[in-house]
């Protein structure tokens, strides 16, 4: 678990950017007063599944993965987190335990917000609460989408979805270098790493994508989208 080495105020994380814009200056002060910036090395765990939910995190630099840990190292990566996204956890208001793990894919920083301060805002500011409900519902819609993609598409479609997600949502570029390993790509696509490698090779052979040690390049995005649709 994250250790608060020092109480450094997090200046790089402008809370007003997120749903915190609904807070009054006074309320913002309350949250600002006990939030801390923590630096994480590559591969370190920010939140651990099963552990206590004491804080909400806002990734301020670097990249992280949010994943559910299953049996036999069979993990499922729910999403990739980039600055300056929030990550809470559905245990909030329920059992105050983490229902997924979050770990960094590169050197990263995160701003940790005390869950009690967050909870107070929810209970005292209805606009803020409403915005948070919207955030939760958007998460649910994304989860539904993932559920359908992973259960109703074959491997080619699932890998296409993963590549399009990285290209469009995370890196916003048709070429990108990524610290995600083949195992990570497999964990995002619900398959073994061997299968992921095979499908990637096929897509490369068909000139839909290209890749080497320095990253991926989507050569034929319409083709990749077609594969994503036909599954």
């Amino acid at each position: 678990m994250a250790i608060f080495t020092k109480g450094v105020h997090c200046g790089s994380c402008n809370l007003k950017m997120n749903l915190f814009c609904y807070l009054s200056d006074e309320q913002l002060d309350i949250i600002n007063n006990d939030r801390y910036e923590v630096h994480f090395h590559k591969g370190e765990v920010i939140f651990k599944q099963g552990g206590p939910l004491t804080h909400i995190a806002c990734l301020t630099s670097g990249l992280a993965k949010v994943y559910i840990e299953g049996h036999d190292k069979k993990n499922m990566i729910l999403k990739v987190l980039k600055p300056t996204e929030l990550v809470g956890g559905p245990g909030f208001t329920v059992d105050y335990r983490q229902h997924f793990s979050v770990s960094t894919l590169s050197e990263s920083s995160a701003c940790l917000i005390d869950i009690r301060a967050f909870e107070k805002m929810i209970k005292t500011n209805a606009e803020f609460s409403f915005a948070f409900i919207k955030y939760l519902n958007e998460t649910t819609i994304a989860l539904h989408d993932k559920l359908m993609n992973l259960t109703h598409k074959q491997m080619h479609g699932r890998i296409a979805d993963t590549l399009l997600y990285l290209s469009k949502e995370i890196y916003r570029s048709s070429t990108f270098d990524t610290p995600l390993t083949r195992q990570d790509l497999a964990d995002m696509s619900a398959m073994t790493k061997e299968s992921a490698i095979r499908i990637l090779k096929e897509l490369k052979d068909d000139n839909i994508i290209d890749f080497n040690s320095s990253g991926f390049n989507i050569l034929n995005e319409p083709g990749l989208i077609q594969i994503s649709i036909t599954g």
Copy 2:
């Protein structure tokens, strides 16, 4: 879509049972004033995916299924709804469209609550809003669970999960008769109906379960749980 044949006040749906217990009598009056009870025949659609989200429903009698419609009639049943459960929809606060369909599995009644009245309660009552957030988070936890089960378990484990869900959560009995078809059981377990039939037969041959035209009987629950775990 549901047609409001008549403005019949819904007496059988005691809103105080659900999260509505956080409302003041005054607020409860506001919601009570424009809610209606509607009867649905077996197989009728209460909410249609893609359609407008104008109401929240509380099933007051009967049974319904909540499902995402995919391509080629490949549906995914998210949950079975029984009295007196609420069903909203993640489109609330987002795009005000339905992101899943709800249809009845038997003759049913539902109490429909205007989404604007509901939204007003969210915005004016922080305790209510907090309870609703808890409800949303519980839904998300259940979705995570489903995602893991469906992507990381083989068919035997998935069918076992479905049977245990029906037995424990829905019917609360080791024997139950259900209007769910084999296709429905398959749609809950992310497989084809032929596969569902085959697995059910295997479980029957192994004396883990029994079934006939009048319903299911779980003979060896520990065995079924073991299958669910080893997947």
